[in-house]
């Protein structure tokens, strides 16, 4: 998901907003943060072919939406039903769009065209096409087909904003150092094409000293607000008397670029935001400021809802925060994959994709110093974990502040992923580099990982790998780290200090032993799947250790050439060890201690499956004169012939196997999860991809329904008169349905919660206000007796089931079973279960009647 590339747009009732998300437009509920509908979902069905840059409600009909895209089209949507109504071909990439209800058939567009100036062409050639100078051209596009469609108004460079005044008189566009004000409502000269940029009555241009970065038009007055690169906000009063010599007011708080500006609908307040991650609310008349600091990430866009109740902010880290205007508290936060929007040089994907064992989510680098837990199937943010806690501060000088990096993350191999280990650090090249290993324990109460131990500078140099011992059972967990300083260290959970009265001893991780081998450098390590053998790759040698006794078990040397092993992994349930150097892939058989097979391959990544003995590699073949090929190959350890090959266009950023229990059982290739070059997740192959998708779809649909249900917003009517009968009935029906479902699920698990039976408000009262025991007795005993009956029924049913089971066994022994008979018995047993539930339900009804008896007894007293 790319949520915050372009500003969001609210619907007129402020309950939903539209977010441009690459080629699609998502409608997101403010209340729940769930995606309610997706427009332009596929190009084949009439969606956009390129990034959607701008969306706008149809001024004539607020249930329709215009969207403009870089593919040069404008599309009109009915967003309630997600139907494409119309497509308008403009032909050139559209970056900005503006229209006014006064002239709903005229759209003002900013389109881009490659510069034709020789100087720019030359520059472009020099930079290898990276710095393409593009001209922004303002055009008017007519949606009515009878007229001349495109009329060119003016041309500028890198447009940063386009707005129309609220009365529709003026159009304002900014480009670099220029502010263009165009009088669009004066006559119909534009119609004739008789306009030129030199027509001073129509076109006015004001120059500024700094590059303009943000633009907003005051809703009631003739005033334009611009924000520039240096952080200054300028208010231009350039209408009426001041046409020639505009009066300007400047407001300066921001230290860096003002990224976005927005006026509230009454024009009293101006919101601004930028790199400081602070939302500043200016009172326009007095210049008084209010701040909302520490928003987490740089603000890119600010949108105010039509009812002025909500502020939506698009952030640099691919998230949208919706804030209530009243108390400035967050209402909802919608987050995408954080990594995709940060600088890939300062914040590379060092951790790769790590599958967390608890829920099967993918864990990867988020913002610098954090990890993000992400659900790739639903494309949903799960959790963000601050590995390196800090207050994000913006830079003081021109130079960026060096951010911390999370280098490695690994999870303990038990089902619940009890322990997590991370390696993080910070190196600003001037002070001593910091390096930390952190051990985290899952906290069941807060459902997150909590720091247990932090080890400062565990190694003298960079840590090259960090793995958990995969052994199962109750033994204390073990972690091995290897480092460029030539050592590997074994870490174990130990008890620190003694247990005090009632308090358990503190648990912490500490280094148990340190190992080294000659003067070589370890670059990779791996554990056998039962944890009894540790392999550490020292340059081109693989050393095998017993991790418990710290003894060297063996040394494997094969590659004669001087190529260090970069990847090393054991395979699950097999005696094979896979090692990869920069140009070879080796499969070692540890039973014979010999290379089983090898393959000349430039391996980028090596990933072993967690469920079976498959492994995969990514490699890129650079053929002379052709574009490099990037392949993903899946192997079995015994066979150099790949089980599966996929070719992708661009080098994938990371790959991993999706955990899939059925694949393990059937020993087939699990689905492969790829993060492609554009930071999007792709899933390749596997039997159950469609199913997974469908499941996710279903869940999403459910969430959507829930989102819609949650949004039956309170009306004034209901505020005054309470809920209407119809609403009550609907709610009751919903409740009932949910209850029924719950019961069904409980019944299907074969457990009937005893709690329901015992829950009885009678005994909650203090004893001195209760009815005497003599009058309670009968009712109470009666209750117990019904239970007894239920139990008897249950026993009977169980007996019956047992009998049937025996029968079934007998049938099987006789060898005369057919599938049909089996299913018949199954159904029969299901019926029994339902019967038991029926009895319980009856019993619940019985309790109130016994209560009534008690109360009548009390009355008679």
């Amino acid at each position: 998901m790319r949520l915050s590339d372009y500003p969001v747009v609210f619907t007129t009732d402020s309950n939903y907003f539209f977010s441009c998300n690459a080629k699609t437009i998502r409608i997101i509920s403010v209340e729940t943060g769930q995606v309610v509908r997706i427009l332009s979902a596929s190009t084949e069905e009439g969606g956009h072919a390129d990034t959607v840059t701008c969306v706008m409600l149809n001024p004539k009909n607020s249930l329709q939406l215009y969207s403009a895209s870089l593919d040069g089209t404008i599309k009109l949507w009915d967003f309630n039903d997600a139907i494409l109504l119309k497509t308008f071909e403009v032909g050139t990439p559209i970056t900005h769009m503006a229209m006014h209800e006064g002239a709903p058939s005229d759209v003002y567009l900013v389109v881009t065209k490659k510069s034709t100036k020789r100087f720019h062409k030359k520059q472009m050639r020099k930079s290898g096409g990276l710095v393409a100078k593009e001209n922004s051209i303002l055009v008017r596009y007519s949606l009515k087909s009878s007229r001349k469609r495109i009329i060119r108004l003016l041309s500028s460079r890198s447009c940063s904003g386009l707005v129309i005044s609220s009365d529709g008189e003026y159009l304002v566009m900014t480009g670099r150092y220029k502010l263009h004000v165009i009088h669009i409502a004066a006559g119909d000269g534009i119609e004739q094409g008789a306009v030129s940029e030199n027509d001073e009555s129509r076109f006015r241009t004001y120059l500024t000293s700094n590059r303009i970065a943000a633009l907003a038009f005051h809703p009631t007055e003739g005033c334009i607000a611009t924000g520039d690169e240096r952080g200054r906000i300028t208010l231009w009063y350039c209408f009426g008397k001041n046409v020639d010599r505009p009066v300007t007011t400047s407001m300066h708080w921001h230290a860096h670029k003002v990224a976005s500006l927005a006026f509230t609908s009454d024009g009293n307040y101006l919101l601004s935001g930028g790199e400081e991650s602070v939302l500043v609310i200016w009172q326009v008349s007095t210049g008084h400021k209010q701040f909302l600091p520490r928003l987490g990430s740089e603000i890119k866009h600010i949108t105010i809802s039509p009812d002025d109740a909500l502020y939506a902010m698009g952030h640099q880290d691919n998230s949208v925060n919706v804030i209530r205007a009243v108390d400035l508290k967050i209402k909802n936060s919608i987050q995408g994959l954080k990594l995709s929007h940060t600088d890939p040089i300062n914040n590379p994907l060092l951790t790769g994709l790590v599958v967390e064992p608890r829920n099967g989510h993918v864990v990867l680098n988020g913002l610098p110093g954090t990890l993000q837990f992400y659900d790739p199937i639903k494309d949903q943010h799960i959790m963000e974990l601050e590995v390196f806690p800090r207050n994000k501060v913006s830079r003081t000088y021109e130079k960026e502040i060096v951010a911390p990096r999370v280098m490695h993350v690994a999870f303990s191999n038990d089902k619940s992923g009890r322990w997590m280990v991370t390696v993080d650090g910070r190196d600003d090249k001037t002070t001593t580099p910091e390096l930390y290993i952190k051990f985290w324990e899952y906290d069941d109460d807060s459902h997150t990982y909590v720091l247990n131990t932090r080890v400062d500078s565990p190694h003298k140099k960079e840590v090259t790998s960090c793995i958990f011992n995969p052994r199962q059972g109750n033994q204390s967990p073990m972690v091995v780290t290897t480092s460029l300083d030539g050592t590997f260290k074994v870490w174990e959970l130990t008890h620190q200090g003694e247990a005090r009265r009632g308090v358990e001893a503190e648990r912490a991780w500490s280094c148990r032993s340190t190992g080294f081998y000659r003067d070589m450098v370890p670059r990779a390590a791996g554990f056998a799947s039962d944890g009894s053998l540790l392999a550490v790759a020292y340059d081109q040698i693989i050393t095998l250790w017993n991790p418990y006794l710290n003894t060297l078990q063996g040394v494997l040397t094969q590659p004669p050439e001087n190529r260090p092993i970069r990847h090393l992994t054991f395979l699950k349930n097999s005696p094979f060890l896979i090692a990869a150097t920069s140009d070879h892939l080796y499969s070692w058989n540890l039973l014979t201690c010999s290379v089983w097979w090898s393959y000349q391959l430039k391996v980028d990544r090596l990933v072993a499956s967690q469920t079976n003995s498959n492994f995969m590699v990514t490699c890129s073949n650079r053929v002379q004169g052709a574009a490099p090929q990037h392949r993903i190959m899946v192997f079995k350890p015994t066979d150099p012939k790949p089980v599966r090959i996929d070719t992708v266009e661009k080098k994938p950023r990371a790959i991993t196997f999706m955990p899939d229990a059925t694949a393990a059982a059937k020993d087939i290739v699990e689905p492969i999860l790829i993060m492609n070059h554009g930071f999007a997740f792709e899933i390749l192959g596997g039997r159950s991809v469609e199913e997974l998708k469908a499941e996710a779809e279903e869940a999403a649909e459910k969430a959507r329904v829930a989102a819609l249900a949650a949004e039956t917003k309170k009306s004034l009517m209901s505020d005054i008169f309470g809920k209407t009968a119809a609403m009550d009935a609907a709610a009751a029906a919903q409740d009932k349905k949910e209850k029924k479902q719950q019961q069904d699920t409980v019944a299907s698990r074969g457990m009937v919660s005893k709690k329901n039976m015992v829950r009885n408000p009678l005994f909650d009262a203090p004893s001195h206000v209760m009815a005497p025991v003599s009058s309670l007795f009968e009712a109470f005993m009666g209750q117990l007796l019904t239970q007894g009956k239920a139990a008897k029924d249950e026993a009977k049913a169980r007996k019956k089931a047992l009998k049937q089971q025996k029968l079934e066994e007998a049938q099987q022994q006789a060898g005369a079973t057919g599938n049909t008979a089996d299913t018949a018995i199954d159904i029969d047993m299901d019926d029994d279960a339902v019967e038991i539930v029926g009895v319980k339900e009856g019993e619940d009804d019985a309790i109130p009647s016994s209560l009534a008896k008690i109360f009548s007894a009390r009355l008679s007293l």
Partner: protein, 534 residues
């Protein structure tokens, strides 16, 4: 959104092993001893069981009641003509009993000091005179080899136990059963008497003249002290000895338990008071006194440790109790017991279903340096941290945070000699601490770069810079020495056969000498991975 300001996280380093246990930290809290000089050896100290926990000190012919609050003498009872022994306060805190060397036993009113009862049957010194757990009786034991139970109202002996063959110097009445009496004698035995059978029911051999006996409140286990030994007997197993301890060099003269009966304190003539954990009878702490300890007592609220010594010195140590501890104790006391109204309505104050709970939000107080950090005044934050006497680790964490924020130069710049002094002082003091060295060297480099230009203008700063230089030089020389030691030792190990030991040793040394050690492998008992040199 607008997440809260994250206050500075102060680094936590692993505790080095072997220095201090939680136990010794606790007992060290009994500090600031007040020493009072009495006329003669303090033979007995006994705490009242009622608040405010005054205590009776018996020395020479006097019994004095000391106040726990002021540590001053509240009342002095000097109605004995000979040396008094065993001044004991009754558990309601109103009566005091004591015996003397003539065989006289007297009961006094604490308030008026008036003699209420006198018991004169003993013909030899009475070293034990205590109240029974039955309030109307007293126990006495004398050098005439008898143990007597007296009825207080009638001043007559109820029971006389004879059977010991030597002086009886220790005795007590069981807490849970006033019929059971324990006595210890110089005939090296501890005897258990039963008033119901009017005779001895159990005899345990201590092996040395018994100076002191005590019993756990449930009456199952007896502890006796005599000679340098301590013995623990299991009454339920017929007086089977469970433990025999000899942690003292000289005779153990006195014993007492703490409030919860989880620790045992013994005082001995070897000048020591030792604390035992009663689970395994291991010594968890020991306190040294300037003279042979004759008597030791711990207040029922575990706040006062009082020891009386042979030279007549009385040492009172007090532990300042944190309010949290007081609260938990109060909560324990206030726990509703069954049958009361409070017990019936307990837990009903919790919100019922449908109640709207108004939550009050507590405002977080930030420390001074955090407040400055929040408003980006880095220099002030550093000053605040150095000024308010924070532990070095806080300052180091702050400096690290400043580096993270790219604000170290900003924090150090623009200082005159007065404002630079605290930082320079800090550097001089801490630059050789291996945990901080790496970071502080960075800071020093920045500081020197900034201020070399103005050196020589202030004698204060010049002197500090010189000291810093000297300190660094000294540290480098020390490190060099260490390395040469390591080098020579490595040569020795290379010769020896056992390589793994060599590696273990190597680790230990390197972690001591390395500038910032982690959770060091110092604790590693197992030998680290052995290198195999092929």
């Amino acid at each position: 959104m607008s997440s809260d300001f994250k206050s500075l996280t102060v680094k936590k380093y692993p505790r080095l092993p072997g220095r201090k246990t939680a136990e010794s930290r606790y007992w060290r809290k009994f500090k600031s001893p007040i020493v009072v000089k009495e006329f003669a050896a303090v033979s007995s100290i006994h705490f009242s069981e009622t608040s405010p926990y005054d205590f009776a000190v018996t020395a020479s012919t006097r019994v004095q009641i000391y106040s726990s609050k002021t540590h001053q003498v509240k009342k002095t009872i000097s109605r004995f003509k000979d040396v008094a022994y065993s001044g004991t306060i009754r558990n309601d805190g109103r009566l005091v009993v004591a015996g003397d060397a003539t065989g006289l036993i007297q009961i006094f009113d604490v308030g008026s000091r008036a003699i209420l009862r006198t018991f004169r049957d003993h013909r030899h010194p009475v070293h034990v005179a205590k109240f029974s757990s039955d309030k109307t009786q007293i126990l006495s034991a004398s050098d005439d080899k008898t143990v007597r139970i007296w009825d207080m109202p009638s001043e007559t002996p109820m029971t006389i136990f004879t059977g010991h063959e030597d002086y009886i110097r220790a005795g007590m009445v069981s807490h849970d059963n006033p019929h059971l009496i324990l006595s210890g004698s110089y005939d090296q035995t501890v005897k258990l008497w039963d008033m119901r059978t009017q005779g001895c029911v159990m005899t345990m051999n201590h092996g040395a003249p018994v100076e002191c006996v005590d019993m756990f409140p449930d009456g199952g286990v007896v502890v006796s002290a005599g000679g340098p030994h301590l013995k623990v007997f299991d009454l339920l197993a017929g007086g089977r000895p469970m433990h025999s301890l000899s942690n003292h060099q000289k005779t153990v003269t006195s014993m007492c338990f703490d409030h919860s009966y989880s620790r045992l304190l013994t005082g001995s003539l070897d000048h020591h008071v030792k604390v035992y954990n009663v689970q395994d009878y291991s010594v968890v702490h020991s306190v040294k006194y300037p003279a042979p300890v004759m008597s030791v007592a711990l207040s029922p609220d575990d706040t006062h440790l009082v020891a009386g010594m042979a030279g007549g010195l009385l040492s009172i140590r007090q532990r300042v109790v944190k309010s949290a501890e007081v609260q938990t104790r109060r909560a324990q006391e206030e726990q509703a017991s069954g049958g009361t109204y409070k017990f019936f309505v307990r837990g009903q104050k919790t919100a019922a279903e449908g109640d709207f709970i108004v939550e009050s939000q507590k405002k977080r107080r930030l420390r001074e340096y955090d407040r400055y950090l929040k408003v980006f005044q880095y220099g002030n934050a550093l000053d605040a941290c150095l000024r308010t006497n924070q532990p070095a680790v806080t300052t180091v964490s702050l400096i690290q945070e400043l580096i993270h924020r790219d604000g170290l130069r900003q924090a150090l710049s623009g200082r005159d000699d007065i404002s630079l002094e605290p930082l320079a002082q800090f550097l001089v003091r801490n630059i050789n601490n291996p945990r901080y060295t790496a970071l502080l060297v960075d800071v020093t480099t920045v500081m020197i770069n900034m201020y070399t230009a103005v050196l020589g203008q202030s004698p204060l700063i010049d002197e500090l810079f010189m000291r810093l230089r000297a300190k660094v030089k000294q540290e480098i020389a020390f490190q060099k020495q260490l390395f040469s030691v390591i080098g020579s030792m490595e040569m020795l190990f290379a010769k020896s056969t056992s390589t793994s030991v060599g590696v273990a040793f190597h680790n230990e040394l390197s972690s001591t000498s390395s500038s910032s050690s982690s959770i060091a492998p110092k604790t590693s008992t197992e030998s680290p991975a052995a290198p195999t040199i092929e």
